[in-house]
Amino acid sequence: MNLLYSEIEEDLRASVRAVLTDHCPPSAVLARLESDSPCDMDLWRILVELGVTGLHVPEDRGGQGASLRETAVVMEELGRFVAPVPFLGSTVLATTALLACDSDLVGSLASGTTTGALAVPLTAAPGSPFPATVSASADGLLTGRVTSVVDARAASLLVVPVAGPALYAVRADAPGVTVTEVVSLDMTRRIADVSLASTPGVVIASGDQATAAVEAALRAGAGLLASEQVGIAETCLEQTVRHVKDRHQFGRAIGSFQAIKHRLADLWLELVCARATARHAADALTRQADDADVAVALAQSECADLAVHAAEEAVQLHGGIGMTWEHPAHLSLKRAKVNQLALGTPGEHRMTLGHMVHLLMDIPSRR
């Protein structure tokens, strides 16, 4: 078990952060909020050139041959900047599903020539039943509807779970496909409802392999989302610390009041503990450890609430400024709050966790 960041991972972080500092300042994210192009595809292309879309894809399948540990570091950085790019939907969820299906399509996602999305509701948790809202006709045409699909509008390739179970690859411009963007709480990472009406697709997995592929994607997604949540919390804490050092009331920096500094000390401590769980999850997923499921559930239990807490503290401790549209604190708040629901709520993950570590709720019948 290695819970640290390697030198290579720190170098990767530095490269990604440099790109995001230049191309993804809060002003740019704010300006894009109500525009017609919610994803920053220029930024996405720069990240693709950096190679971050293929980190956990083996080299012989068109990727970088690194691991989910490195992908997790990218998630941390994207979380810090609340970057509006389809990394979660394409690089984490769709790519992991395709990897588990031995599909050749994974190469195009790894290289960034294609952007994908996994057609499941963003609230789907690891361990939940295989989604079966789309069905295939006898001649292989797909019909059905999947709501709340993350990064769907940016995707040209949809990976669609179909009753059976099976997994299909569907081109977003195929006949009968409708992607309807909804008004999302997190406007930097939007969701859309996807409808298919007698749409042609290609089977890429069926039976147990399809189930396992969706499960692998949800598990990796939940595990790596913890790293994004750590990134969000870290940036909220840093910005808030900077603010309370600078902001003066009653003739002194407000950060000198214990009422404020104790809250920030507590938040720092929560972050320290949550980071250990996020690293543990990324590491366990990479090693395909026996307790990877425990590690993921634990990380979501700790990191999802941490990010919300950090963002809420940021809004509160910035005072009236934190309540304004022009200050970026609400970007983190909205991302953190949506992440709390994404890929399983902390409560759902704890239910799973309790089961896995034999802390059962059921009361065995007594003789």
Binding site: V241, S256, H262, A274, L359
Partner: protein, 392 residues
């Protein structure tokens, strides 16, 4: 260069010359000290070999395997964790050779005379006076929360030698003989019923100047060495999953399905997750130390541990149902060391309340994190003038 092979040879020589099976315990411990295997990172001649600290694990494992007695470290924790590093750093050659050997073997127990009724979190405000009289100092004052005072031969003591200076500057650090005339120890009963601590009254106690540690007026600087070591000691060792108090509660849950409710279940799993997260944080901290890059994370461990211990033990009493209405034993006793696992849930609940007070309150630890880790400004001070003029 001392390496693990060399250390193993020394252990073998010790065992050959002093068979643990037939050697008197104290005789063995003294021989171990003299062989430099007590604390290998200490200097040669003072129980060590000037070797890297990590090699101690090699020694301990080999001696444990050979069935050798240990020095009962929990019983003499204050001596080992606080007095010894301070004596090593600031003691004279005479002090080091007089005190360290019986301290380590446990022949002489140590206690700490720091806190006072009027100086707790604000330790530097302490008012116990030491006045010079020839080759001696005459000490008068009251100390409190003193573990082991009733078994101790020696104490590390902070006293005010110059009340005209600002509070941090007029303090001097001494070694006090607990058997000297004028030292009176009274048990101080806690909310658990036991008396782990004592009050210590000092009335015209004479301490020879040769028992001063560090220069006159430098006591605060010396004390910082002691306190730093206290927090490191409390920070905790590696434990397996469910190794701490959460394991006791989890076992109760598994063995008593009749106690289960959905609401308790949700809280239990949440506590389990927090305990596991804190355990992993400790693992990560040790990995950072091993990689030679200690982070500031260590300063938060005690704070997190205190809160978790209180939440788990509070939960446990609730979980127990009717049994939670009972207490194992209120009899006044004076334990050598804290025993969290050997007692009942009620005891754990009450004793854990001390975790956020002893060794730095959680409020002071939050100040330390906020100011030293996050770099936030301190509260404006109103206590910078001469000590004697401070309101109290």
């Amino acid at each position: 260069m001392t390496h693990s092979g060399h250390i193993r040879d020394r252990v073998r020589e010790l065992l050959a010359a002093h068979d643990p099976g037939s050697t008197d315990r104290l005789e063995f411990l003294r021989a171990r000290f003299d062989a430099g295997l007590a604390w290998v990172h200490y200097p040669v001649g003072l129980g060590g070999l000037a070797a890297p600290r990590e090699l101690q694990q090699v020694v301990d494992a080999e001696l444990d395997e050979a069935g050798a007695p240990d020095n009962d470290p929990l019983r003499i924790g204050i001596g080992l964790g606080m007095a010894a590093p301070t004596i090593l750093t600031y003691g004279t050659e005479e002090q080091k050779s007089r005190f360290l050997r019986p301290l380590w073997t446990g022949e002489e127990v140590w206690c700490q005379l720091f806190s006072e009724p009027g100086a707790g979190s604000d330790l530097a405000a302490l008012g116990t006076r030491a006045v010079r009289d020839g080759d001696d100092w005459v000490v008068t004052g009251q100390k409190v929360w003193t573990s082991s005072a009733h078994t101790a031969r020696w104490a590390i003591l902070l006293a005010r030698t110059d009340p005209d200076l600002p509070k941090h500057q007029g303090i001097t650090y001494f070694v006090c003989d607990m058997t000297a005339p004028g030292v009176e120890v009274r048990p101080l009963r806690q909310i658990t019923g036991e008396a782990e601590f004592n009050e210590v009254f000092l009335t015209d106690v004479r301490i020879p100047d040769a028992h001063r540690l560090g220069a006159v007026g430098e006591g605060w600087k010396v004390a910082r060495t002691t306190l730093m070591n206290e927090r490191v000691a409390i920070g905790g060792a590696a434990i397996p999953r469910e190794g701490g108090m959460i394991g006791i509660v989890a076992d109760t849950w598994r063995q008593h399905p009749e106690l289960r409710t959905p609401e308790l279940h949700a809280r239990l799993v949440k506590l389990w997750a927090r305990a596991e997260a804190l355990r992993l944080t400790g693992v990560r901290l040790r990995q950072q130390l091993a990689a030679g890059a200690p982070g500031p994370e260590g300063s938060g461990m005690k704070l997190a541990f205190a809160r978790l211990a209180q939440d788990i033990s509070g939960f446990e009493v609730e979980l127990m149902g009717e049994a939670g209405l009972r207490y194992d034993d209120w009899t006044l006793c004076r334990p050598d060391q804290v025993d969290f696992t050997g007692r009942g849930p009620g005891y754990r609940y009450l004793r854990a309340k001390g975790n956020s007070i002893e060794g730095g309150t959680s409020e002071i630890l939050r100040n330390i994190i906020a100011e030293r880790v996050l770099g936030l400004p301190s509260e404006p001070r109103s206590d910078t003038g001469p000590w004697k003029d401070l309101p109290r």
